[in-house]
Amino acid sequence: MRIFDPHVHMTSRTTDDYEAMYAAGVRAIVEPAFWLGQPRTSVGSFVDYFDALLGWERFRAAQFGIRHHATIALNPKEANDPRCTEVLDVIPRYLAKDGVVAVGEVGYDAMTPAEDEAFSRQLALALDAELPVLVHTPHRDKQAGTRRTLDVVRESGLPAGRVLVDHLNETTVAAVRDAGAWAGFSIYPDTKMDETRMVAILREYGTERMIVNSAADWGRSDPLKTWRTGMTMLEQGFTEDDVDRVLWRNPVEFYGQSGNLVLDPVPGFVAEAPPAPATFEGSSVLRGVRA
């Protein structure tokens, strides 16, 4: 099973996770820029975070044979803090960089005017940069938030096929599919969506424009949920080709619209033997073996 996890926050995860992901078949990932448990208070904090996503984290993933990509954006929650919103002026610079495969996560948290402004401005940035968009749907008032999201996307002029609306569930999937956008599902240990419910949704709606991710992060989550979903699909009668479509070809087709995916194997990578020179700006993920 080859797996592309299209939404996973690896900065919050350990090297054990990278090893387990590789062993399960994960070969490429997308790490969306998002909020941390602790709110940021300045633009500089975002700049360092973006640089870490495109620098250290990409290097770290490669040490474990995994191709790392990122999406860049001001997230909706922090769009509400005026000390952070000026980051919108530096985002275009990042959208042009290697490995940036979408604008995201954008969308709504509490559906405030500040979120409206950040969302529509960043949809315009995506239009200019000719990038796809990863849209987060809110935890609270999800149905209303998803409807409003689809309205704003429609008004932006972006083709629906360039938009992935994420964190969907039984009550929001139909509207997103009807709009022609890609439908994303975050498989969590016990909240947003689980693998059994996911397979039921795939049975009802089919595998076209369907995207499954682990969205693993600093909360209770599991970076192997993509693999577990694939296994559940097989157990319940889906074919290997169906699994490959959902867990590899679909995310590759969506993020491939950026022209910025790198999917060939990491040169020189041998499982359990990180390639030399294994340092990034003087730092290594190895411990105890360097002079």
């Binding site: 935890h139 609270r140 999800k142 969205a215």
Partner: protein, 291 residues
């Protein structure tokens, strides 16, 4: 300090840990005489007639009652010091937990002190009341000082500022000066974006009841349900609950049912107007607002 909750008939005291009597939807609105006469600093006199436009004075909570009760020992000294020199609060704020303890105010129903606050919450709220006295007549300086204490504070200190705003709101009888209201709204909004349940719960007290706009307030209430924090944290819930909040609660219940997940009992308090005193034994499901 020896915080007492004796002025609040619903509150078992920290010392005795009273029986888990069902809490009423909100505490009585009349401030207790003991609090007014206490050492927590001058409490502004009865609200000006212009404030009569507000439907009801902000409701008293366990933290506010404890903050306004007589104090002794370290806290009494600190309060006197703050009244002489407001900047003394900067040193007292981080020390409060070490000096007065961190016990919950209502251990029988709220062992973690998230819903009804803690002894150090009350101590910091008392310090904020003393600050109100020290900056008397200069609302801009009081507002700036509160913002500074919050921004420089850790989670407990931030909670202290929020609970202090509650104490100021109650003491002013709903007639807080505009600069304090403006800063309080900003700080509450910041706390409501946090993931720490105690911060969110501290941002839905009497200040929020009196001063948050309806949209922000509704999202705060739904966020509590989402996080599994009891709605007893919300001051004046039944006064402010409206049809839109009921609609959001119904949507969330539908989402949980569609997912085959438990529907939190607290949702029924929002979908139907709550009969007074109808606090059910809670069924809570916990989601963090993960990416």
């Amino acid at each position: 300090m020896t915080p007492t909750t004796s002025s609040d008939p619903a509150a078992p005291t920290a010392a005795t840990g009273g029986p888990a009597a069902p809490a009423p939807p909100r505490a009585p609105a009349a401030p207790a005489a003991g609090g007014v006469a206490g050492a927590a600093g001058p409490v502004p006199a009865a609200p000006a007639p212009t404030a009569a436009a507000r439907a009801a004075a902000p409701p008293l909570t366990a933290v506010v009652a404890a903050a306004r009760a007589p104090h002794a020992g370290w806290l009494a000294d600190a309060l006197a010091e703050v009244r002489r020199d407001p900047r003394a609060a900067d040193g007292a704020f981080p020390l409060a937990g070490r000096r007065v303890g961190r016990a919950p105010l209502r251990p029988a129903t709220d062992p973690a002190g998230v819903v009804h606050g803690t002894v150090d919450d009350a101590a910091r709220a008392a310090l904020v009341l003393a600050l109100g006295a020290a900056h008397r007549g200069d609302a801009d300086r009081l507002a700036a000082h509160l913002a500074d204490l919050y921004r420089a504070g850790d989670t407990a200190e931030r909670r202290g500022v929020l609970r202090g705003l509650d104490a100021l709101a109650v003491a002013s009888g709903g007639d807080l000066p505009a600069p304090v209201v403006a800063v309080g709204r900003d700080l509450a909004a910041d706390a409501l974006r946090a993931n720490d349940t105690s911060l969110v719960a501290a941002a839905v007290g009497p200040f929020a009841a009196a001063h948050l706009d309806q949209h922000t307030w509704r999202h705060a209430v739904v966020k509590l349900v989402f996080q599994g924090t009891g709605l007893d944290a919300v001051a004046a819930l039944d006064d402010r609950a409206d049809a839109e909040l009921a609609r959001m609660a119904r949507d969330l219940a539908a989402e949980r049912r569609a997912a085959g997940r438990a529907v939190p009992d607290d949702l029924s308090r929002l979908t139907t107007p709550a009969p007074a005193g109808a606090a059910a034994g809670p069924t809570r499901t916990v989601d963090t607002e993960e990416p």
